[in-house]
Symmetry: C2
Subunit: 350 residues, 2 copies
């Protein structure tokens, strides 16, 4: 027995009196609670409660739940902190009222609808992904989720809108934390419907910006921007960020973009941003940035496994990784700053 073996077996024996399996079982069976919320979003539970609490039987009748199933389902959502219950009437929590009512602009359920319909079954093949290093989504059978998505106007609109809701916390934090008073123009690369451009334009009246994305996003961007009356200060420019040069501006933002791509593609995008900036211009990258020690941000590490499931070469990365790519191409004064939830930004000056 080696010294390390001895240490391991001693500590295991010493712990066996105190160790309990609860944490392991809670995590291992955690998909039960997760899928319960995803089904609730799919069934529209929270949208149905937008006008006020409903008795269980009434709610079950409206969304078509079986009498055997609804009491456990709704009480499980209660115990998980996703519903309230008073005198048999179920209602939204402050959070589900804001974020899971389809009629509200703050709805983030689109992301969860996608997770329910696609990611949950694809993650069922995680073991295969870990062995093969290959995606387990539509690509496995020759499909291409994003190509299909960009062909279907309604689905694309819903998807882009889901991304807006999902990134709203990060957008507000970027508007608040970055020294925008030093700059006049920005480009949001991969802008979707324009959640970040709108947030920046609303918060900083002197800014004008460009949203850069594939052409089909254009009409959704224009519609969203017009809804805020910002069409004089925000414009859409269609393009493919691997084919076309990036538009010039004082600040370039790459939000939830780099993690979709492999290392050399990431470096290419950072280099193209460098090319498009003037001296003194800034690059802002944001994602679920992993802590440099790769010990704490479980969500960032799991998001990276999600990129394994979804893409041929994508992965999430630490702030230090991103700072290295930036410095290698000539950026200076790089820093990492937490935004909201699992998201952080990495900023740099040319």
């Amino acid at each position: 027995m080696t010294a390390s073996q001895e240490t391991a077996s001693t500590s295991a024996a010493g712990a066996s009196a105190a160790a309990t399996p609860e944490g392991i079982l809670q995590l291992g069976l955690g998909f039960w609670g997760s899928k319960t919320l995803l089904s609730a979003v799919e069934l529209g539970v929270f949208s149905e409660l937008a006008d006020g609490p409903l008795h269980g039987e009434e709610l079950a009748a409206r969304i078509g739940l079986h009498p055997r199933a609804w009491p456990d389902f709704l009480d499980a959502l209660l115990a998980l902190g996703m519903l309230t219950r008073e005198d048999g009437a179920y209602g939204n929590t402050p959070e589900t009222a804001v974020f899971l009512d389809r009629a509200k602009p703050s709805y983030i359920g689109g992301m969860l609808e996608m997770a329910n319909a696609r990611l949950y079954p694809f993650w069922g093949s995680l073991t295969e992904a870990l062995r093969s290093g290959s995606p387990q989504n539509e690509a496995k059978h020759g499909g291409d989720f994003f190509r299909e998505l960009y062909r279907d106007g309604d689905r694309l609109k819903q998807f882009l809108h889901a991304m807006t809701g999902l990134s709203m916390g990060a957008h507000k934090a970027i508007a608040a934390k970055f020294p925008w008073e030093r700059y006049d123009t920005f480009v949001d690369v991969g802008c979707a419907e324009g959640g970040l451009p709108v947030e920046l334009a609303l918060t900083h009246k002197h800014l004008t910006g460009v949203g850069f994305d594939l052409a089909p996003s254009g009409r959704h961007f224009d519609e969203y921007v017009r809804a805020f009356g910002l069409e004089q200060r925000l414009h859409f420019q269609p393009g493919d960020f691997f084919v076309d040069p990036l538009p010039h501006a004082d600040v370039i933002v790459l939000g939830h973009i780099l993690h979709d791509w492999n290392l050399s593609e990431k470096q290419t995008l950072v280099a193209k941003a460098h090319e498009a900036l003037p001296d003194g211009g800034a690059l802002i990258v944001f994602d679920a940035i992993i802590d440099n020690e790769r010990r704490r941000n479980a969500f960032g590490l799991l998001m990276s496994l999600n990129m394994l499931i979804e893409t041929p070469g994508g992965s999430d990365y630490t702030g230090a990784d991103c700072q290295d790519w930036m410095r290698a191409i000539g950026f200076r004064d790089t820093y990492v700053e937490h935004l909201a939830g699992p998201d952080s930004m990495v900023a740099a000056i040319k």
Copy 2:
């Protein structure tokens, strides 16, 4: 707008400044971390580390992980608290060393292997279960998991052993908390390989007991009991608890049994226990008993949804429900007591 509508929209608006979507996203995407642990158990990560920590590359080579995948996978397990890491070498935590090493009797991974192979995909059809009230397991296509299981000796042994590991906390608590000094004999109905009988016989030297289960469990019971040298005090009696009368004893235990069955089947089993007990004899029921308010024990409520996925009529229940069934058939002095993790017992005197 009604008063309740006004309250709802006021509270939603008032909360929108403070509410964050983090809790919703963490729960909705919680299946990522859950499936990561399940794949780790499937791949034997924790058993491979039983002799001591291994460098990531070595561990990945041993269990066949792709170079693209293993760093995120192992660091995600670290961030989830399921591994340690020092100088690039990954090791078990005190808990994973005890409960997820296949070679240890305390292994509970059998339950998680089953969850990975069966429950994860079946829970993908939760929405259908909620609408139809019907099981979503092998039964959906005419299969019968338990019948197949009891036909296959090796699989049955592994399954029964998984149940022992899973219930060990509850078994120890029952041995400690129930007044066994007042009784001499017991029957464990649905005893599997005899985890509870062995625990009771080891803790209370005056007790003799019977394990009652379907005949194929017999040789696994005998083997397990012999391993503890308890074959003089513990015996197996084959039988079907819906067809045959229950064996007589001072105490009858129904552990993780009632939740598999519908209301009238539950009541039948409680009545058969009453019949088999002498005056003054005791019935102990244990399960992931739901709190009477059905507000707090999320695991118990989700376990009940698991019974929706797995059985035609099963469901979990509150302590008050169980006390009602007991009193209705003539039991007295019923009480509910927490055991370990999500499990509680309901005890009663004839």
